[in-house]
């Protein structure tokens, strides 16, 4: 490969749980299943309080094109449909189900009939799967592409976030389903080539998948350097195929489709057995966790129940993160439920959770030299502080994927990702203002022309 790899940061790996096969936890007493677990419209509940549900039974249907149905992860009784607070401050509906502890599978579970692209996409949609790597974008929408356009499919097994080993375990323990999934993609999307991108800190995954795909045509396991963020969609595409997704474009614009390994396994399992997405491999780790391990968790289980299953806390937790430490979301309490795209629960003790001391920028340029997308975070910060949205536009803050490299490497510990997020908001406002002004101007111009026309018509009439 002669691709010049994108920049990144050498984050600690901390893959403490890589050798621990996931253990299935018993059904918790109660699960709280949010309707908003994907990018796009929330799902619409199809059950009501008092209804009996079983594992794999539909409890909410997709709320639009960019949406995804939800299935019950436990058997039991719907207790209520509640309004809950989401991490980002909004609210959404959530179905609260009391488990009977039996985990009886739904009798209507049956493998779907998949014969062509449309029925495959339909199956993906019905499986309830969304981007399990963290993005939570409904996979069926992503896969709805013209096969003629697909040159490459990148199966994303990078798992570049520290701590998380859920995808590692998926690649090791569910490798047959993963290969089934690759065959499905090859059959229905007809890519020229399939890359399986894995960071080279997982040599066992690389050798296992090389061995299992050696008879498949046009499948290559790409060992990527363990340089965060190899799993970022644009980074994965660039570092495997050498292609660059243009600003405002989608991977398919450059002939690529990226799909996470766990997502693909879920699809393959649904096509094979009809069991939709009802549970997740979750890595439970961090300095405050007594026994770090991988757990198979029904969706909707609270952080508290998962941590209790892992032997509770070693020391008092000060920060709970859903997802990895680079891009995960910190939540205010342990009631937060595991959702479709939760790959990890991290609990940090007081020492690890202590906020860093921020000092003045020393212009070392590390934020620039580590940014995978070649952005200039320090310059963006200055432009944001000076309230110059036109400079933010020039600096292309809109491209930022919030991977966290800049904040991670900053010796002055400046909150660069936070500022980028805020700056994007400012830029959106500025763009909206520009658009409104342009529209106003166009309307004015049109009115003027109209008036001139009428004037001319009048003149003609009088003559």
């Amino acid at each position: 490969m002669s691709i010049k790899l994108l920049h990144g940061a050498h984050v600690p790996h901390r893959k403490n749980t890589a050798d621990l096969a996931p253990k299935r936890m018993p059904a918790p007493a109660v699960v709280t299943v949010p309707m908003s677990m994907n990018i796009g419209a929330p799902a619409k509940p199809v059950v009501k309080p008092g209804d009996e549900v079983k594992v794999g039974q539909l409890i909410a249907e997709a709320g639009g094109f960019v949406s995804s149905p939800v299935y019950s992860g436990v058997s039991g009784k719907v207790k209520k449909i509640d309004e809950i607070l989401l991490f980002h401050g909004g609210t959404c509906q959530a179905i609260v189900i009391e488990s009977d502890g039996e985990q009886t599978p739904y009798e209507g579970i049956a493998a779907p009939t998949v014969t062509d692209l449309d029925s495959f996409i339909e199956a993906v949609r019905n499986s309830g799967v969304v981007g399990l790597g963290g993005a939570g974008f409904p996979t069926a929408v992503k896969l709805k592409v013209e096969p003629a356009k697909v040159d490459y499919i990148c199966v994303n097994g990078a798992e570049c976030e520290p701590y998380i080993t859920a995808d590692t375990r998926t690649m090791l323990d569910d490798s047959e389903l993963l290969v089934d999934g690759i065959k499905l993609l090859q059959k229905y999307l007809q890519p020229g080539k399939v890359y399986i991108g894995i960071e080279d800190n997982k040599p066992n995954c690389i050798s296992k998948l090389r061995d299992m795909t050696k008879d498949l045509k046009d499948v290559e396991v790409a060992a990527l350097p363990a340089l965060y963020p190899q799993g970022g969609e644009k980074v994965m595409i660039h570092n495997t195929t050498g292609r660059i997704v243009p600003e405002g474009g989608l991977p398919i614009d450059v002939g690529c489709v990226v799909i996470n390994t766990s997502t693909l396994v879920t699809i393959a399992r649904y096509v094979k057995t009809g069991m939709p997405l009802v549970e997740k491999y979750v890595t439970v780790d961090g300095s405050a966790i007594a026994n770090p391990q991988n757990v198979i968790v029904p969706i909707g289980t609270s952080v508290k129940d998962v941590v209790d299953f892992c032997g509770g806390f070693r020391s008092e937790p000060k920060k709970i993160i859903l997802g990895g430490p680079m891009m995960g979301v910190s939540v205010p309490n342990t009631d937060a439920p595991v959702v479709k795209n939760t790959g990890a629960i991290l609990a940090l003790d007081a020492k690890d959770a202590a906020p860093p001391v921020t000092t003045a920028c020393i212009k070392c340029g590390r934020c620039v030299s580590h940014c995978p997308l070649n952005l200039m975070p320090a310059a963006i910060e200055t432009a944001y502080q000076l309230k110059k949205p036109e400079v933010l536009k020039e600096l292309k803050v809109n491209l930022c994927m919030e991977c966290g490299c800049c904040s991670f490497v900053c010796p002055a510990k400046r909150p660069l990702v936070q500022v980028n997020k805020l700056a994007k908001g400012e830029l959106n406002k500025y763009n909206a203002k520009l658009k409104a002004e342009a529209e106003k101007k166009a309307a004015k111009e049109a009115a003027k022309q109209e008036a001139a026309k009428q004037e001319a018509a009048k003149k003609e009439a009088t003559v």
């Binding site: 430490p325 690890d352 000092t359 070392c364 620039v368 997308l373 200039m376 002055a412």
Partner: protein, 307 residues
């Protein structure tokens, strides 16, 4: 459980801080400091201690006066003090060294907003101010301990006069000059440490020293070329002052341009100017150009589409 700390990602940070970076620079300057004591005697240590103490004091005092947060623990003032000391002749009167520290910290650094905001290198600018204000003491060179000579004419003056200079003495530093500039070996050790620790990149020093070497080679052949890069303040300037973060470009291509520019100006002054040495002036002049170089060499966002 409630009341967890909630913050924006990322939730882990690298171990590097401004203080660890400055500590690395101080460590990297130690070989040169030791060499200066060996070559010029204990007074070199005294000058170094005075400059460091004065710089730290002025930083603390000025910030106290302006009610700014105290930044002496980031060690940047100590770095400025040590670099300034290594740029002075060993016989410099103590009050003049203190005056230089005042110029460096208060005038060049703090009046422009403190760490990260100054556009010119504090130590370099202070040295130039001192060179003009105290021309006599600043160009009175003590003889090195291991030489037979009574006064230490600097090798650049000797080269300028067409005399030959021992390359081994130049490399080890057994020649006249500023305290910390004479031993290319000691400075090189520090430079390698900084590059290995990723505090600086090789681009600026290599471009700077390389440019001087090539131009000197053209002018006077191989021996002259080698002598020119080991002589004077080139290594000290190229490794420790042309790599200062806030006063030099942060992009790699910008650093190459900066280094080449410094090399060109240094040679112009050395070969055609009235001063025997031009490293300080070259860095200061390129400091002034830095905002433009940064603008020209700004990184291009991946996949960015021009509106």
């Amino acid at each position: 459980m409630d009341n967890m700390i909630v913050s924006v990602s990322p939730h882990i940070r690298s171990n590097d801080t401004t203080t660890t970076i400055m500590r690395d620079v101080l460590l990297a300057l130690c070989p040169a400091l030791i060499a200066s004591v060996v070559i010029f005697g204990a007074r070199a240590l005294l000058v170094a201690v005075v400059c460091v103490a004065a710089c730290v004091f002025f930083e603390w005092g000025f910030e106290k006066m302006c009610k700014r947060p105290n930044t002496i623990t980031d060690l940047s003032a100590a770095v400025t003090g040590l670099i300034l000391a290594l740029n002075l002749p060993v016989g410099i009167p103590i009050w003049q060294a203190i005056f230089g520290s005042l110029v460096a910290i208060v005038v060049v650094k703090q009046l422009f907003g403190g760490i990260g905001h100054n556009f010119a290198n504090p130590a370099i600018t202070a040295r130039i101010v001192m060179l003009i204000a105290f021309a006599g003491p600043m160009t009175t060179w003590a003889a090195p301990n291991f030489a037979d000579a009574v006064s230490g004419a600097t090798p650049l003056a000797q080269l300028g006069a067409g005399e030959s200079v021992s390359l081994a003495s130049l490399f080890l530093g057994n020649v006249g000059g500023s305290m910390g500039e004479t031993s290319a070996l000691a400075l090189l050790l520090g430079g390698i440490y900084l590059i290995v620790r990723k505090v600086i990149s090789w681009h600026t020093p290599v471009a700077f020293i390389g440019t001087v070497f090539v131009l000197a080679l053209i002018k006077g052949g191989l021996t002259f070329g080698v002598a020119e890069i080991f002589a004077g303040g080139l290594f000290l300037g190229a490794i420790f002052m042309a790599t200062d973060y806030s006063t030099t470009p942060s992009t790699k291509s910008g650093q190459l341009i900066f280094g080449i520019g410094c090399g060109l100006i240094t040679c112009l002054i050395r070969f055609f100017g009235n001063y025997p040495e031009g490293v300080s002036f070259s860095i200061l002049l390129m400091n002034i150009l830095t905002p433009y170089i940064s603008k020209w060499t700004a990184s291009k966002p991946l996949g960015g589409v021009d509106a």
